[in-house]
């Protein structure tokens, strides 16, 4: 059987498609349409953020200065590294290298876990500083001094956005981790060989999208008004 024939009879090819390339093009277009709905989903939060940041800039600046810029920058780099390993695992699946596909997928999961652990440490700090809206809102001392100039109620609004946006992002990360685990199981079985790698490509696009959301969350939440 020639390579072309093997591709035409690949078990991953659904019968409604002419060949693997057409199937992959369709799958990729499908995930992009989903990602457009995700752009609008996060977009609503970004638009609301833009309005409140403009209305209560001093409060947002004060709130931003409570966050640990080192942890934020470190997490950005961890997530970018996970995007690199994701891109490399898609490439490995494309070339049919089972071993490195699994290695890079596991690497992506490890980096994703590191991101979530650092995020958890940050959330914990917010509870210790009592700047969690509704649940534990009682800033004191130095924290209070940073938040008071913009108005405490408006600073609370900043933290509502902080938790809503990073929380929604973290939920997307957790879903992505589940998808990665599913890919690892399938990749180990040798599913992604012989030109069939659409599932890896599709999950990869989702993972990179979540990365892009964080690329904007980092400057918008951590770098308001500068640290000079």
């Amino acid at each position: 059987m020639t390579e072309a024939e093997a591709r035409a009879h690949h078990p991953g090819l659904a019968h409604q498609f002419r060949d693997l390339d057409q199937q992959q093009e369709t799958d990729t277009l499908g995930i992009w349409l989903f990602l457009v709905t995700e752009i609008m989903f996060f977009g609503g939060l970004f638009a609301a953020y833009a309005i409140y940041r403009w209305l209560y800039f001093a409060a947002f600046e004060g709130g931003s200065h409570i966050l640990d810029i080192r942890l934020g920058a470190a997490n950005t780099m961890v997530l970018l590294a996970s995007s690199l390993t994701m891109a490399l695992s898609v490439r490995s699946a494309q070339t049919g290298n089972r071993r490195s596909t699994v290695t890079f997928l596991v690497g992506t999961m490890i980096l994703g876990t590191i991101f979530l652990v650092i995020k958890g440490v940050e959330y914990n700090q917010k509870f210790e500083e009592h700047v969690v809206p509704t649940l534990d809102w009682a800033p004191q001392g130095e924290t209070l001094a940073k938040l008071a100039p913009g108005g405490l109620g408006h600073a609370e609004m900043y933290f509502v956005f902080y938790f809503a946006m990073t929380g929604l992002h973290a939920i997307h990360m957790i879903i992505g981790m589940g998808l990665l685990l599913w890919l690892v199981v399938r990749a180990r079985k040798g599913t992604f060989t012989g030109g069939y790698f659409a599932p890896v490509e599709v999950v990869g696009l989702y993972w990179h999208f979540v990365d892009i959301v964080w690329i904007f969350l980092f400057p918008l939440l951590y770098l308001i008004g500068g640290r000079y």
């Binding site: 093009e25 752009i39 833009a50």
Partner: protein, 109 residues
């Protein structure tokens, strides 16, 4: 029309560029540029997004229909933010009639 295999080196170079831009945006936050702090931060974030879209997400080698979908998505997001902000920022431009701010309900003859 199968996708070309991009060399590993390209991905690594893009990654290094992204790390460099992250360091840059963090560093710039410690300089006082006035309103340009926000402009620079957003410009860097936008550049990083383009790098991820073009290389990691492979739009550089995608078909035109794929790119159209992506551009349309971001265009709609731009409409959402621009029109909403346009509304909020221009609400106080023209004075409203005194009668609008009257606290007493209007009396009818």
């Amino acid at each position: 029309m199968s996708q070309p295999v991009v060399p590993q080196k390209t991905y690594v170079m893009v990654f290094l560029g992204l790390i460099g831009l992250t360091a840059l945006t963090t560093g710039v936050a410690f300089l006082d540029l006035g309103p340009f702090n926000t402009v620079v931060a957003l410009a860097i974030a936008f550049t990083k997004m383009l790098l991820v879209l073009l290389f990691f997400m492979g739009l550089k080698h995608s078909s035109d229909i794929m790119r159209t979908v992506v551009i349309a998505g971001f265009f709609w997001l731009a409409l959402l933010i621009a029109l909403t902000m346009g509304d909020y920022r221009t609400r106080s431009w023209s004075p409203s009639p005194d009668s609008w701010s009257a606290t007493a309900p209007p009396t009818h003859p």
